[in-house]
Symmetry: C2
Subunit: 453 residues, 2 copies
């Protein structure tokens, strides 16, 4: 294998400029899904790119933007999937970009453009790895490779779950590498073995036809108070949810999960400094913070009611609303939590408080013992020469669940071109050449070892 | 007295056009205290107007707009005071006015202009009553009359309390008639024997330097939750305040107060229809609603925190704030309640939640047995030919307290030109000629009887 990997590294270093150029060509094509700007044109460009690398490509229509699927057979029966997306976040505010977002520019060893990292750079770094393997192996691949690129990731992937359910044969595989990945704030490589689910809702109370003079507050019901009391009914003082059955399906962290948590660095000092935290949720400190991810949350994302301007206006608000997101651990189910939330409010005397579904994703968690995780970790440590850090689950949410279960509980990891200051979603997004190269080297090694797992 | 009153009525009817014209001249002079537009010019016009009716006038400077004090001696040692204000609310939105707000216009038996009712019409109707008395009595008055007009009522009367405390000799009197008054939503005359106090505050929580991704909500403290929990700690489920000592100085309603409450009409049907109320505070119904005013309130006037736009943004808010107003009954004191609120939050574990004082007024309540109340009621029933309705205290707040105590606990009532649809503070504010005339007739009778109390 040493011969192989030396060849990969030499090939990738020698061809780096070509792949950065390929990334730049994709970035020059705007593909802002939020505004439907250039998305379909970019889908066409992605299909051409895959074809130019030898892939058989299908452009699959959905109710939204097309999904591009590219496949190359391998010498074994095993297939590895890459999930990426070809849409990007809006580039605004434009005035904060040093060079225009859709005029890719190289400076200081990095490519600057909207999408340079998220997610066009990720895509091309993977293509480069596939090329390196084939160059080392007379054009052959040790395993099948399937690329799936959607065009709606930046608007919440509204159609991907249905797409996967309807295309399980096309997408059949044995593991997947998710978009994202790279090194963390300390420069260490790592991955999270999945993502928590999320249920987003809006709670609203209406008590009056219109805001009233607060002189009548002894008589006229206040929507803000209704909402505050409904919210306060959801949690007790120890951050434990009062919704009956909320924890029924929450799988406790395994001993191995807790070991992984405890092996992660202590983030307390960094979190205190960065966010200005005085006291963490539940009074957690030190490494206990790493275990907090197994606590499902009920987060208030916003509240709006009544007068919010300067000084005072003495009104009794007629209407009040709050946006909440619940982060769910395996095996909590957003539909089930939604029903239990409604039932709790009804039982607690808040039948008048409406609950509107705003969106949801299910949790997903790979098994820490899966050999694919071990392969990813081992190859990363070879490339980065640093310990690989494994979070048993990430705190946020992503549509990993939409692939994992329908495709037979495949393991999914991340591996990519990121670092802590990529400016993803922000002005001056960029990808550093060194990170790009390391990601390609890492992924080539994963492909190389995948058939033998 | 019958001769007198017939004379008053004839005089006032005969001179109505003149007084409407005098009101219109005052209304043509803008006096928007919120923007300091024309306020001082209007103060000069008010002083001239009082002088033209024979009053000795002092223009008293304050830290804000001047207070105009006009006095006429009477044949007795007793003095009756009128409290009015010469400033007006901003006229916006201008496009909703049928005729421009500062171009007074007569149509359909009413004068339309900003200030026509609130409070320039009130002022001139009182001047008319004084003229009628003097015309009937060879230019003499049975009692002294003092007009006090401030220029900052519409911005919360920030300087009037200090002004009164520093001018108790100048303002010495035995009773006062407050700005406002007239007939209620059923056309009945009446008054409230005072006003509740008010304490306005802002509660705020800050937990982070900036909003965070809600994926970290298991660790990072949420300002919205901090605020919701602090608010929820203020009241129990039965609308009873949990702030220790909150009710210590709340004087219970007397048997006579409760009699007055029960004699008021049942407002339930009207309130349900107008405000769309399903359930009133504390489950009150029917005439029990009239007694609710003796329950001090903690009203949430507004809450702002986090994301309030369309759809969802999964953030953990760094900052949250709520505006509250407490309506206080006699003898609750805003300073005392403010201290107790702070002490409660500290004791309940919310020392980090800040409390900012936004403003306050003390409660004031006249004794229902005062002969001045009886005079006001008897003369109103003579003029309006309808039962006089007495609320033992109004639910809102006003600076009556600033006059009553420093001037020796004088009784204060309302009597004026209003009706339920005057559009006070709104576009198309107006005063109806019939209401103007009735107010003058009523006030002339009060002056006529006042010396003999």
């Amino acid at each position: 294998m040493t011969n192989h990997t030396t060849y990969f590294d030499t090939f990738l270093q020698a061809n780096l400029d070509k792949y950065i150029g390929e990334t730049a060509r994709l970035c020059a094509q705007p593909s802002v899904s939020a505004k439907n700007e250039g998305v379909r044109e970019c889908a066409g460009l992605v299909a051409q790119t895959l074809e130019s690398h030898g892939f058989r490509v299908q452009t699959c229509e959905t109710a939204g933007q097309p999904v591009i699927v590219g496949h190359l057979d391998g010498e074994s029966a095993r297939t590895l999937m890459f999930y990426n997306h070809y849409d990007v976040q809006p580039p605004e505010p434009l005035e904060l970009w040093t060079t225009p977002p859709f005029q890719p520019t190289i400076r200081d060893g990095a490519l600057y453009a909207r999408g340079a990292k998220d997610d066009k750079g990720e895509f091309v770094a993977r293509l480069a790895a596939v090329d390196a393997i084939r160059a080392a192996n007379s054009g052959k691949l040790p395993c099948g490779i399937t690329f799936v690129l959607e065009g709606e990731e930046e608007i919440g992937s509204p159609h991907i779950a249905q797409f996967v359910r309807e295309h399980t044969d096309l997408l059949k595989c044995h593991a997947a590498i998710w978009e994202e990945g790279g090194v963390n704030f300390e420069g260490h490589p790592g991955t999270a073995l999945g993502r928590r689910g999320v249920l987003s809702v809006e709670l609203a109370a209406r008590t009056l036809n219109f805001d009233a003079h607060s002189g009548a507050a002894s008589m006229l019901p206040n929507a803000a108070w209704r909402l505050v009391n409904a919210l306060a009914s959801l949690k007790d003082g120890d951050e434990r949810m009062r919704i009956p059955g909320f924890y029924d399906h929450a799988r406790p962290a395994s001993p191995r999960d807790l070991e992984l948590c405890d092996a992660l660095p202590d983030r307390e000092t960094w979190l205190r400094k960065n966010f200005g935290v005085k006291e963490f949720v539940g009074g957690r400190k030190n490494k206990a913070l790493n275990r907090a991810v197994f606590q499902p949350t009920c987060n208030i994302a916003g509240i709006t009611t009544g007068y919010q301007g300067k000084g005072m206006k003495t009104v009794t608000p007629a209407h009040a609303s709050a946006k909440l997101d619940f982060r769910l651990v395996p095996d909590q189910d957003p539909d089930d939590i939604f029903k239990k939330l409604r039932a709790h409010l009804d039982a607690a005397g808040f039948a008048d408080v409406t609950v509107t579904w705003l969106g949801a994703m299910s949790p997903y968690k790979a098994s820490p013992g899966d050999p694919f995780i071990a392969l990813t970790a081992r190859t990363a440590e070879e490339v980065y020469q640093l310990p690989y850090e494994i979070e048993p689950i990430g705190g946020g949410s992503s549509p990993m669940y939409a692939f994992a279960a329908p495709l037979g509980n495949i393991p999914i990891v991340t591996a990519g071109v990121g670092y802590a200051d990529n400016r993803t979603h922000s002005p001056n997004e960029h990808v550093r050449f060194g990170d790009f190269l390391n990601a390609s080297r890492h992924i080539a090694r994963i492909i190389d070892g995948f058939a033998d797992l």
